[in-house]
């Protein structure tokens, strides 16, 4: 039997285990393995080697598995509640900004009227309005978002304090 037939058989044997071979190649391989004792032994060893991997069945420790499950569950819950908290903070900030702007628009005219009654220069009352009405309101609106940073608390990428 030509040497290249044995090489081809081993190549096909490996390929059949790893990625599969065509029907024609399978027929050729089966026929060759039946005739050739050496390649038959090689095929048997290959099959045994693959089966041997099933011999290593590791026993599971149910307590360890449950512990991992509980840790992962509680982390998932923590991340979800942290995510919900961040979402509600953003919504609260948006509402606060909206109220600041609409409140400023509503109070603008009465203040302009009062300033004219007291003969205040428009620059003065407008600067006072921005400094004592708008800026504090906007600061309070944004404060919750930067609370952790301002308080010096560290947080991980998911918003959870570590």
């Amino acid at each position: 039997m030509p040497l290249e037939n044995h090489e081809k058989a081993r190549f096909l044997l490996h390929r059949s285990l790893v990625e599969g071979i065509s029907v024609e190649d399978r027929h050729w391989l089966d026929a060759h393995v039946e005739q050739c004792a050496e390649c038959g032994r090689y095929a048997d060893l290959s099959a045994r080697a693959v089966r041997a991997l099933d011999w290593f069945a590791f026993e599971l420790d149910p307590a360890a598995a449950l512990r991992v499950e509980n840790v992962v569950r509680s982390r998932a819950e923590g991340m979800r509640s942290a995510g919900a908290q961040v979402k509600s903070l953003w919504i609260g900030t948006a509402v606060a900004i909206f109220l600041t702007l609409t409140g400023s628009a509503v109070t603008w005219r009465p203040l302009a009227w009062l300033a004219s009654q007291w003969n205040l220069p428009s620059r003065v009352w407008q600067v006072a309005f921005v400094a004592f009405w708008m800026l504090p309101s906007l600061f309070l609106a944004f404060l919750p978002l930067f609370r952790r940073r301002l308080l010096g608390e560290d947080s991980d990428s998911n918003g959870q304090t570590v």
């Binding site: 490996h14 285990l17 790893v18 990625e19 090689y42 060893l45 290959s46 045994r48 080697a49 693959v50 041997a52 991997l53 099933d54 011999w55 290593f56 069945a57 590791f58 599971l60 420790d61 360890a64 598995a65 512990r67 991992v68 499950e69 840790v71 992962v72 569950r73 509680s74 982390r75 998932a76 819950e77 991340m79 979800r80 995510g83 990428s157 998911n158």
Partner: protein
């Protein structure tokens, strides 16, 4: 009607999409079931990487925590297993690198050598612990002697039944490299079995 269509689309939705959605929503019930379902396979994969049962158990938990952290990166278009194993693989490699660095530091300090008490691989090997027969012990020795990348390739192909492309995705290596790793790993196992048969 809309509810019916929604319900039907959920039923028809591939599992990978369900997993991706549950991960994004941090659905603790679903994630808990997944941890339980994949526990053995993940543990086995990490044992094949680290050759140490205790380390593998620690890494299983770390893997799931990292899955939660990077949940947004899994889009459900591909199967979940290769993604899960690739996360576990990165952790195992980091762990082994740290271990090697620590070992190297100990070796550089002769006064610390006495305190270096690394277990002998053969006796601590989980493969030996699991081996029930002489044949299994021979294969355990061969597995223990193989580098983790070859053990990994064998496990993913023949026990996890991943395709070559999926194994390549996990290992971050070309398909041809994965194929040759499987070939080399199988050859080692064949040699151990063949040697045993000859000896018998």
């Amino acid at each position: 009607m809309v509810a019916l269509v929604t319900a039907f689309s959920r039923v028809a939705e591939p599992e990978s999409q369900c997993i991706a959605r549950a991960l994004r929503r941090r659905d603790s019930e679903f994630i808990g079931r997944m941890v339980s379902r994949y526990h053995y396979r993940l543990l086995r994969y990490l044992v094949y990487w680290t050759s140490r049962r205790e380390q593998a158990e620690d890494l299983v938990q770390e893997t799931w925590l990292r899955v939660l952290e990077h949940a947004g990166q899994y889009n459900g278009r591909l199967r979940f297993e290769p993604w899960l194993f690739s996360i576990a693989r990165n952790l195992a490699i980091d762990h082994l690198r740290k271990q090697q660095a620590a070992t190297a530091r100990h070796r550089m300090c002769p006064e610390d050598e006495a305190s270096l008490n690394l277990p002998a691989p053969d006796f601590e090997s989980p493969f030996f612990a699991a081996a029930r027969s002489e044949d299994a012990k021979r294969v355990a020795a061969a597995l223990g002697a193989l580098e983790p990348i070859y053990r990994e390739a064998l496990l993913l192909r023949f026990q996890e039944e991943l395709s070559l492309a999926e194994i390549a995705q996990v290992a971050g290596a070309p398909i041809s490299t994965v194929s040759s790793r499987i070939h080399r790993g199988l050859s080692m196992l064949q040699a151990s079995l063949g040697g045993g048969a000859d000896a018998a």
